[in-house]
Symmetry: C2
């Protein structure tokens, strides 16, 4: 596929400098004197806020809230205390606040959430957990858009994944989200197989009796900020030439990618006010926006560069 | 490629039950009622002793010995103490003994070696270390066979990698060796790209000033025994359907693979006495051979199943 094909590339992207920058970059690394060998065409994408919406709260938090609500239903005394209270009453303000505090550098509530993740996986085999998560994706509806999570992916980014793939790129997710919470949906939603999903991780062990890999009740690492370049090396063993993120936790990944002789780095900026349920926000992106100016990340304006945000459910 | 092609598949494998088992398995998972989707055709291979020789000592130890000898040359007082003394005098007995002790469950000398690996990587960026290792592979000669390491790979196993690949498999290395010591050669020697190399790992950090991922002076994990299934999950996110190993440290990986509905597990048994410099040995494989009997791993007899062991240097 190229910009000259009869079908217009990246159809949900508006004409303009951002779309041109993508198309020109891809053309420059696939042909001519600056061509990059196919095996080095590595592209990395943050997930929450980059490939799909993370408002009003990240999808994983929705899953955890369901776990908490189920726990409180089983033991009503829990319903009086946080975080179960928020889950039972649907108090999104507390939950959203936990994420905002994380972006502001305060992980106290996020640690409560991590504890809940540890609790929801304790003693489970990885394949059991994957089946639970797959059930969630099948049944859950986004809290404000009321559609399946498959339909709150960003349509322009899905088109970008396909466009890069058609031009020989290998696409990876590099997310602060739990790796094993993403894997059950990435192939279907993004065309990204499990071996290309990089994320935060819980401790694991091998149990000989059951012949299963299972979760320990430990947290292994948070794949965010300076950890992202480290996980890119351990998992891929190459420096990417393309990266896309949307928040402060993506700065180091974008900077690392700029260490490649040829590179394109995108920062998705949620400056839209379209009432799609994806309210405008810069919280957690202040430093990333400043870094974009300083280091030359290409800022993607959701309001201006995207003709549509989500897939057309009728399609 | 199939067994019916005019070119005989797996040419360095002799006719017999082992070769038949491989060909029958591949046929059964690529076609007919037991066909496995391409994305699930995951094959995992141990490296030292499975894909190339590990005698008289693993290649990485040769590299480390060169580092020690260089350190002793720079500081002659070191030459009087182990392990530098062994490096300077070429005392292979001490070095081989360290590996034998590891297989016998005593890692005291292996810890000396790990300390040396930490020392040889301290303060290095991962790309610098990769360049050093690539230099070693270019210049070094195997200590007893006196040929480049590219020519001490097991020819029948390289043919097996290509055969599986031609039938839609994704091949991975899952080795106790240092991941970053293998990556600089696996694409050339085995056709396995860096993102499919799983191995032991040193601690890493991201240095913003240099925009490099670099080594910490810490050991992260040893990818051996029960750790192999864990690393397979973290890196691939699927249970393999094919596995090959040669020693006690591979038992859990082989057992884990047997958890797939369809599977083939190979245990390479070094029962040859051909004077190729690859002397017969069962040390470190006693439990694996017992497990093969108990659990039905297919034992590959180097003496009987392989028509040749190494590539023909004249080819």
């Amino acid at each position: 596929m190229s910009a000259n094909d009869s079908v217009r590339a990246l159809p949900s992207w508006t004409d303009g400098a951002t779309r041109d920058a993508i198309i020109d970059f891809v053309a420059s690394v696939t042909d001519g004197p600056g061509a990059v060998p196919v095996e080095e065409r590595v592209a990395v994408f943050d997930n929450d806020g980059t490939l799909w919406t993370e408002k009003p709260m990240p999808t994983q938090l929705h899953f955890i809230v369901q776990q908490w609500a189920a726990a409180a239903a089983a033991d009503p005394s829990l319903a009086e205390q946080q975080p179960y209270k928020a889950a039972v009453t649907g108090d999104l303000a507390w939950l959203g606040g936990a994420v905002d505090k994380h972006y502001a550098g305060d992980d106290s509530d996020v640690k409560v959430m991590i504890g809940a993740i540890l609790g929801s996986t304790a003693d489970l085999g990885v394949e059991q957990y994957a089946a639970m998560v797959a059930d969630f994706y099948r049944d859950a509806r986004h809290l404000t858009l009321h559609r399946p999570y498959a339909e709150v992916v960003y349509q322009p980014m899905v088109e970008l994944l396909r466009y890069l793939e058609a031009n020989g790129f290998s696409n990876y997710i590099v997310s602060g989200g739990d790796r094993d919470f993403m894997r059950p949906m990435t192939a279907e939603y993004y065309g990204i197989p499990p071996e290309r999903v990089i994320g935060s991780a819980l401790g694991l062990g091998y149990d000989e009796a059951s012949n299963q890999v299972h979760y320990h009740s430990t947290f292994d690492f948070m794949d965010d900020g300076p950890v992202k370049p480290v996980r890119i090396w351990t998992r891929i063993g190459r420096r990417p030439i393309f990266a896309a993120g949307n928040s402060n936790g993506d700065i180091q990944m974008l900077r690392y990618t700029q260490g490649s002789a040829q590179h394109l780095t995108l920062l998705v900026h949620h400056d839209d006010d379209t009432g799609r349920g994806d309210t405008p926000y810069d919280k957690g992106a202040e430093q990333a926006l400043a870094a974009a100016s300083e280091h030359g990340f290409t800022v993607v304006s959701v309001a201006h560069d995207w003709a549509s945000v989500f897939p057309d459910p009728a399609a």
